[in-house]
């Protein structure tokens, strides 16, 4: 009887402890404010056509199993995901071709509610120009809602998770215009993730806001 009570107490303590860690209040204050939809409309895209890690909870915690069908060859690439993405046309902008690279962040911390990846974009609009973008995606909120559904809001899952968060590196976010009419532009990036019930065929949305460089009078 004593052993059973002790075991129950231990299990209860672990469950409550996991709940407290997952419900870390930092997650409620650590997101980036959304960009105005008028200035930076979101472009929905699919990123199922990738090579590398799946960015599942197990991958982010370092206990994921490598899928030989899509894994990247090379020990230095075991935590990398890369894929070609087509961003749809709309709002006066043509469709763009892009490559997105995500790298599981070494700076992730369970105490700081950071479980994410550094994301790098190389985007080119035909006939227009190109831009680079970098950001940090924190999947903590999605992980919390998967493990503790009652704490998570069903609205969040339906509206998508605003996964863009300040980078633990503090110096690596933003948009940098590269070629064509976007040369010299600088701005911000936001991403949103719409998980499906099965966990597969997840949709993403990307919003970019960039301004031209200041005009210097001669």
């Amino acid at each position: 009887m004593r052993a059973l009570v002790g075991l129950l107490g231990l299990v209860f303590g672990i469950v409550v402890g996991v709940g407290l860690v997952l419900a870390n209040p930092l997650t409620w204050f650590d997101g980036l404010p959304p960009l105005s939809a008028e200035i930076a409309p979101s472009k929905a895209y699919l990123w199922d056509d990738y090579r590398g890690v799946s960015l599942s909870v197990a991958d982010l915690l370092g206990v994921g199993r490598r899928d030989p069908d899509v894994s990247l060859a090379g020990p230095a690439l075991s935590l990398v995901r890369i894929g070609i993405v087509v961003l749809p046309a709309g709002e006066g902008v043509p469709a763009a071709l892009a490559v997105k690279v995500s790298v599981i962040a070494e700076e992730n911390s369970l105490w700081r509610a950071q479980l994410g990846s550094h994301d790098y974009w190389n985007i080119f609009w035909p006939g227009e120009g190109s831009a680079f973008a970098t950001g940090y995606s924190n999947y903590w909120g999605m992980v919390r809602d998967k493990i503790l559904p009652p704490i998570g809001s069903s609205d969040l899952a339906a509206d998508g998770y605003p996964i863009s968060a300040p980078s633990p590196l503090r110096n690596s976010e933003g948009v940098t215009g590269a070629a064509g009419r976007y040369a010299g532009f600088t701005g911000e990036i936001r991403e949103r993730l719409y998980p499906s019930a099965s966990g597969k065929n997840t949709d993403w949305a990307l919003a970019l806001k960039a301004n031209p460089p200041p005009v210097v009078p001669r």
Binding site: L10, G74, E128, S130
Partner: protein, 233 residues
């Protein structure tokens, strides 16, 4: 019994606290950076890509034997005005042939981007343990990938992977020596970096080097990206 339950409960909380503290988060494998100091200042580092071996195929994509010069891990997009953009994905090596990261090359044509007959390229190199570096350039020629409809569907063909490209040369500098007429055009420029590359700017050149032409008309070779950077240029 209550006291036992309380002690066990606190022990459970402690187990979670200790686990959250000491949990081994994944770390990237890091090779020693092969950087040399240029005689007139700055740091020089070369990144190497071997074709076709370092092309990253998309899932389920295989190199089709009848089309040995076809490139895997590539896509192209063209607008109604004929402006084209192509994307390629590669593994990246250091000069000692260690695979250290991934890279993407996006190249585009069009009046706002490059002079007629030329393209402009954006290189993104990501080295997981060190960060990312962004490179842009005007190309000396149109270096975009072309897509063609074949009996096996749409296939991408890279200029350097066809033997015909190399009839009178075995090495070509892709980076233009002069920027061209377009205002935004540039010779090789290191635009920005993150993490270890943050604050570095400078120049780079892209060179294609042919190593072998096979009997089936395909080629083998390497792309060398030579960067010369300095802090706060």
């Amino acid at each position: 019994m209550k006291r036992l339950f309380l002690f066990a409960f606190i022990a459970g909380l402690l187990v979670v606290a200790v686990t959250a503290t000491v949990w081994p988060m994944p770390k990237h494998l890091r090779y020693q950076s092969l950087i040399s100091v240029a005689s007139d200042g700055g740091r020089q580092e070369d990144f190497v890509i071997r074709w076709p071996g370092d092309r990253i195929p998309r899932p389920g994509e295989v190199r089709s034997e009848p089309y040995a010069a076809a490139a895997v891990g590539a896509a192209a997009l063209e607008d109604t005005a004929g402006s084209r953009v192509s994307a390629e994905m590669f593994r990246v090596r250091d000069t000692e042939d260690n695979v250290i990261g991934v890279a993407s090359r996006l190249a585009g044509t069009g009046a706002a981007i490059a002079d007629p007959g030329r393209s402009a390229s954006s290189w993104l190199i990501v080295i997981p343990s060190r960060g990312a570096i962004f490179l842009i350039q005007t190309d000396a020629f149109d270096a975009t990938i072309r897509e063609q409809l074949t009996e096996e569907g749409n296939m991408a063909f890279a200029p350097a992977q066809a033997a015909a490209f190399w009839t009178d040369r075995s090495r070509i500098r892709v980076t233009a020596t002069a920027p061209g007429a377009i205002r935004s055009a540039t010779t090789g420029q290191v635009l920005r970096g993150t993490s270890e590359f943050a604050g570095l700017t400078g120049s780079f050149t892209e060179t294609w080097e042919l190593e072998e032409v096979s009997a089936d008309g395909s080629t083998r070779g390497r792309v060398v990206l030579s960067t010369l950077t300095a802090a706060g240029n």
